[in-house]
């Protein structure tokens, strides 16, 4: 009878409640303060959950129906991000056992195989995810191009994407010196020599990258710092901008008719200042159609929770599962330790640079600097050259036949050079038949 009774529906931490009661309710109260909303069972709950959670807040409460069409995006953007997350996690774990020293690095590779728990599978996961990231980022770029998604207002996000592709390639380039095996040493020797062919500043870039005249301890240390700190930070920053921009540019691209008025014309119109009133805007000038949208125009949006989040979770789980299976089945290659005196014959870079190496075998300047530089420049300028806004939001749109054909031709050429470099080149880079 002496214990005070707590009235129902009042939080146990109400002012008058005693210490014991607060203690008893502590787990529950902590839980409730951590997750301020229960799992949503209504539309209101769904929007609250998205809105009040730090992680879920990355998406708007409602997204366009078109954004979650699996066959439109193929989940490639999320997949690229997932590989980056895997690489960050496995990379940090590998750092606990790695020493960037020419005398120790290779032994540490052997230790990963021999004495570190899960060392082999961690290294495999890191290596195969790096390969996967390069491939998926490239495919993501193909998706964006072939659906015309780089067009206004998404021009700058396309450039951010191009920078991310370059950063991805540079991250993998710096990464494969670290095992300090034969492939590492000679691939970096060749790769940094390509940089030296850049006009005027080439030799200086090479010297800055290597910290010496040739690949050695300084280069290993520099590549390590670039690989584990500088590039991941830059990628994280660019990814953040990339994601932010998606929202600010109105979500993923979609065909104009997807969010149109019943008459099929787009809802959004150009904002033109009313010049007769000296650059003032009338509120009604911003939008077409009825002032109140809800109930008056077709609503093509769905709640991000659960529609979008579950789709992304699915892509995450599948990507991790596939890479894990591959890592359990196949071991990452590790060649002989570095022998400065004897390059392997042929000395081949990883597959994604073999197209470049094939080009370089014709002309170091044109193959290594001229053509790739022009390709990158052209790629970044695409949204500013191709200004027509028709055909956005559809795969292989007829209106974009020329642009798509040119892009596919370039992409295929790169793939063909990679295939030639991978399968048709033998000792002394002479032509061999793999059959």
């Amino acid at each position: 009878m002496s214990a005070p009774t707590v009235p129902e529906k009042v939080p146990a931490t109400a002012e008058k409640a005693g210490f014991v009661v607060a203690l008893a309710a502590l787990p529950r109260n902590m839980w409730d303060s951590l997750f301020r909303n229960p799992l949503p069972d209504s539309d209101l709950g769904a929007s609250r959950t998205s809105f009040t959670n730090f992680f879920l807040h990355i998406h708007p409460v409602k997204v366009h129906r078109n954004s979650i069409r699996p066959l439109y995006t193929l989940g490639l953007g999320v997949m690229s991000f997932v590989t980056f997350v895997i690489l960050t996690v496995t990379g940090v774990l590998l750092m606990f056992y790695y020493v960037p020293s020419t005398t120790q690095a290779y032994d540490r590779m052997l230790d990963l195989r021999g004495s570190v728990a899960f060392g082999t599978v961690l290294r495999n996961l890191h290596r195969w995810s790096a390969h996967a990231m390069v491939a998926i980022v490239f495919l993501h770029m193909c998706r964006v191009f072939l659906t015309g998604s780089y067009k206004r207002p998404r021009e700058f996000n396309w450039i951010v994407g191009c920078i991310l592709l370059l950063l991805t390639l540079f991250a993998s380039f710096t990464g494969y010196l670290l095992p300090w095996d034969q492939l590492a040493f000679w691939a970096i020797t060749v790769g940094t020599s390509i940089a030296a062919y850049a006009p005027v500043i080439g030799k200086k870039i090479q010297f800055l990258l290597l910290g010496d005249q040739a690949v050695g301890q300084e280069a290993l240390l520099r590549f390590y710092v670039l690989h584990v700190v500088v590039l991941p930070m830059l990628i994280t920053l660019m990814v953040a901008i990339h994601f932010w921009r998606i929202r600010k540019d109105g979500g993923l691209s979609r065909p104009a008719e997807a969010d149109g008025m019943p008459d099929g014309k787009p809802l959004r119109v150009e904002i033109v200042p009313n010049s007769s009133k000296g650059g003032t805007f009338g509120l009604m000038g911003f939008v077409r159609g009825p002032f109140t949208k809800v109930g008056n125009v077709p609503d093509n949006t769905v709640y991000a929770w659960p529609n979008l989040f579950v789709a992304e979770l699915f892509v995450f789980v599948v990507t991790v599962a596939v890479l894990l299976v591959v890592s359990l089945l196949f071991n990452a290659p590790l060649e002989e330790p570095v022998n400065v005196l004897h390059p392997p014959n042929p000395a081949k870079a990883p597959w994604y640079f073999l197209g470049l190496q094939e080009l370089v075998s014709y002309s170091a300047f044109w193959g290594g600097v001229g053509i790739p530089g022009a390709e990158v420049l052209l790629l970044m300028l695409v949204p500013y050259i191709d200004r027509k806004v028709s055909g956005v939001g559809k795969w292989f749109s007829r209106e974009r036949f020329l642009a798509n054909t040119l892009f596919v031709t370039f992409a295929l050429l790169n793939v063909i050079f990679i295939i030639i470099g991978t399968f048709f080149r033998g000792p002394n880079w002479s032509f061999v038949s793999p059959f």
Binding site: T189, V190, L208, Q213, G216, E218, P346, F365
Partner: protein, 163 residues
Amino acid sequence: MREQERMSEKNSPATAGNSRRSILTWFSGAALAGSAAISALANFIFMKPRATYGQPSRYSIGRPDDFPSGTRVSLDQRRVCVVREGSKLAVISTICTHLGCTVGVSDTGFACPCHGSRYDQDGNVVGGPAPKSLAWYQISLAPNGELEVDTNAQVEQGTYYNL
């Protein structure tokens, strides 16, 4: 006229504030831009090592007697090939001029395993993507009787050192 004067008078505190703010903006902006430029330059200087830990550019390769006439031997550690014909001596780089692989030495010349560049005995390009011939380095006889190679000093091809 009077209307305008009255307006400017009314706005004068705001105008003074604006000009002060714009001076502050310009000053801070210039300071920030200047600092950014200086730190970019400082970073560049910092990243460029003053001393390197790799191979020295001048080194001894031994006495002339170590290389009898007809010698054509590759010093793998130094990445050079020593050639001697009678009293004529030459040190030819074995760093491929294409992309820096070490070329293999054979009786007929040099061959690169990386991208298939081929050179003749004097280091002239005879095939593959190499843009120029292999470098010939300057040789001198040190007071202690040993041959000294300077990889910073290249000599014209065919310039032998006469013993």
